[in-house]
């Protein structure tokens, strides 16, 4: 461990010696002072231009990187927001009231709606297969309306939310058990317009 620094020092010494020697071994020939000055100037200019160009390139690169980063970040944010918006809420059997464990998901949607004033959405209500086929259209309608009323009561303009019902016609889980039924008793949220660039709440 001790040797490493000394070796480094020796190395450095060699380099220094080598550098120190250079002016002596290569004396500048006497020449036209003007041309020297001009050459010096030209060299300085080109060096300056070089470094300026390099700086510019670097700045461009950083800008591009930043833009890409921010675009990626924006896209990531939009995707995240879209996922938050699309998060389904669920219902008890033959019920259309918002469950307390779904309030947080709906509050999140309120924030998204507020942060994206151009956003318009459709809430569609769905049911499990146990009830009557046609009655389930009315029940799904209640479920969609319940979510809309929640959003509106938290300040979202009613004209920005459409409702729909598909009854039991579009299940997400195909099983015939309570687990599937629970997944199918739901509201879905889809973007109708203004969802291209979604900002975080």
């Amino acid at each position: 461990m001790k040797r490493v620094p000394s070796l480094v020092l020796i190395g450095l010494g060699v380099t220094l010696v080598a550098c120190g020697k250079k002016p002596e071994t290569a004396p500048a020939p006497m020449a036209n002072a003007d041309s020297i000055a001009a050459a010096e100037r030209a060299r300085a200019d080109s060096a300056a231009a070089d470094s300026a160009r390099r700086a510019q390139e670097e700045a461009d690169r950083i800008a591009r990187q930043r833009a890409a980063d921010s675009a990626a970040a924006a896209a990531a944010a939009a995707a995240e927001v879209r996922n938050m918006l699309a998060a389904m809420i669920h219902f008890d059997y033959d019920k259309a009231n918002i469950r307390s464990d779904d309030a947080a998901a709906l509050d999140q949607k309120v924030g998204i709606m507020n942060a994206n004033p151009d956003l318009r959405i459709r809430v569609s209500g769905h049911c499990d297969e146990r009830g009557s086929d046609e009655y389930n259209l009315a029940l799904g309608n209640r479920r969609a309306t319940a979510a809309k009323q929640y959003l509106v009561s938290h300040g979202v303009d009613a004209s920005r939310i459409e409702t729909a019902s598909y009854g039991e016609e579009r299940p997400v889980a195909m099983g015939h058990d309570e687990d599937s039924w629970a997944q199918n008793r739901r509201d879905e949220f889809e973007v109708l317009s203004g969802g291209d660039v979604l900002r975080r709440p």
Binding site: S124, S132, E134, L137, R142, Y166
Partner: protein, 456 residues
């Protein structure tokens, strides 16, 4: 009903139909000969035999007639012992291939033979050119009762089966004086599409014209049009479609919200339906003839009102309302006034009741009700306002009446998967209409009237 009227009526019935019933398929029964008893046998129905045909082109006619008359559940349809080789002609002469020379004068039927077989009626079919002749023999009276002649379209013609079904209904009318339901069809939904099928399970036809999900088909009273709902852009739109041409028109004012469960009034002028908007689901009507003039019949507020069905006189509409909490069957005047509970229920005990269908004779409303977590078909007696449970095996739902008001189609999973079944409420006989899984929301047509113009 008929079963419980006691021995006096039993004697009357026996004097009309005194012959013993031949057990179908059981050819040994003929050896027992004629038995006359003074014992009242409930459920005894007149025996009927559809005679073997001589012309090969009539085989399918005979098959369809035989099945229709069997499915009417009003006869003991007799299967001839030894297949169809039994002698058709009269006088007990030796059987032989029917010569064309014999058809000049139709031989008299061997009435004693068919009496011995237990037949009260025998149905004979003949073909002259493109005219089918159906002769109804009164076997006990030993005479021809009625003869029907109609042009019969070729076997490939779409009108062929319906023409034969109409013969079956005429036979029923001529023998028992009862209107039949042979010349009818059903609509139903499978995989989001509307299909049509004859009541005997034949001629399955896709009638949906788009790939959009469809629901709730309903017949117009003439049997030549129907209405149904189709999902469209988050909404539900109603259409009226012509059976013969498949041309359809959208019902104006529908499609900008969720409109569903259409139902024609008996005069065909009004189409009632359910509309779901944010304040709830309510029943509306439009003028079906002029395709205009939206009217609102219910104003639910905190309850939903849906699934209208007209009484056959057109004066009342039964429907489903959630005003008692769970959905139950209500009734109102056709103009929306006088809304009241129709099918009684025990609050907090009786389950949800849905999908009412008013019988064509006006006396009953069929619906389904949640019993212990599964659905069962119930029938409401309109006069006494009492309900009785009709089914108990498996899950049974969405009943629809046949025009004879004694047959009913419904959806049941009793065989392990959901399919369409037909039950006769008088005899309790039940048969699958369609051996395919996933069929639902059946709608039984009225008797399909002959088109006014015979042009196809």
């Amino acid at each position: 009903m008929t079963f419980a009227r006691g021995s006096l009526l039993g004697l009357v019935i026996l004097s009309v139909y005194p012959s013993p019933r031949l057990w179908s398929q059981d050819t040994s029964a003929i050896d027992r000969g004629v038995r006359i008893g003074i014992i009242y046998r409930p459920g005894v129905r007149p025996g009927l035999v559809v005679l073997p045909v001589r012309q090969p082109g009539l085989d399918s006619v005979r098959t369809i007639l035989n099945r229709d008359l069997d499915y009417s559940d009003r006869f003991e349809v007799i299967t001839l012992p030894g297949g169809d080789s039994v002698r058709v002609g009269g006088g007990g002469t030796s059987p032989g291939p029917a010569g064309a020379a014999r058809s000049r004068v139709p031989p008299a039927l061997n009435y004693p033979l068919y009496q011995a077989l237990g037949a009260d009626f025998a149905v004979e079919t003949r073909l002259t050119g493109d005219t089918a002749i159906v002769v109804v023999h009164d076997v006990m009276g030993g005479a021809v009762r009625r003869t029907f002649r109609h042009r019969l379209p070729g076997a490939g013609d779409p009108g062929f089966r319906l023409a034969v079904h109409r013969f079956a209904d005429q036979v029923l009318q001529a023998t028992l004086g009862a209107p039949g339901m042979a010349a009818t069809r059903l609509l139903f939904v499978k995989d989001g599409k509307v299909y049509r099928i004859d009541q005997d399970g034949a001629d399955l036809t896709l009638v949906s014209s788009t790939d959009r999900q469809a629901m709730s088909p309903a017949w117009a009273p003439d049997g030549h049009r129907f209405a149904y709902m189709e999902f469209s852009g988050g909404h539900g739109q109603l259409f009226m479609q012509d059976v013969a041409t498949n041309r359809r028109v959208s019902v104006v004012t529908t499609g900008s919200s969720l409109d569903f469960t259409p139902a024609f009034s008996p005069d065909g002028r009004t189409l009632a339906f359910s509309r779901a908007i944010e304040e709830g689901t309510d029943i509306y009507t439009v003028n079906a003839r002029d395709n205009c003039c939206l009217q609102r019949l219910t104003r639910g507020g905190f309850s939903d009102n849906l699934s209208p069905t007209f009484s056959p006189d057109g004066h009342r509409i039964a429907f489903v309302s959630t005003r008692p909490g769970l959905p139950q069957v209500y009734v109102m005047s056709a103009d929306g006034t006088d809304q009241q509970l129709f099918a009684p229920f025990d609050y907090g005990v009786t389950g949800s009741s849905n999908a009412p269908d008013w019988s064509p004779d006006g006396q009953s409303v069929a619906f389904h009700r949640d019993v212990g977590g599964t659905l069962q078909v119930f029938v409401l007696d309109v006069r006494t306002r009492t309900v009785r449970q009709l089914t108990s095996l498996g899950r049974n739902e969405d009943p629809t009446w046949a025009p004879d008001s004694r047959h009913m189609a419904f959806v049941s999973d009793r065989s392990g998967y959901r399919q369409l079944w037909v039950i006769d409420l008088e005899t309790g006989r039940i048969r699958p209409l369609l051996q395919q899984s996933g069929a639902r929301l059946p709608a039984w047509s009225p008797r399909i009237a002959e088109p006014v113009s015979a042009n196809p």
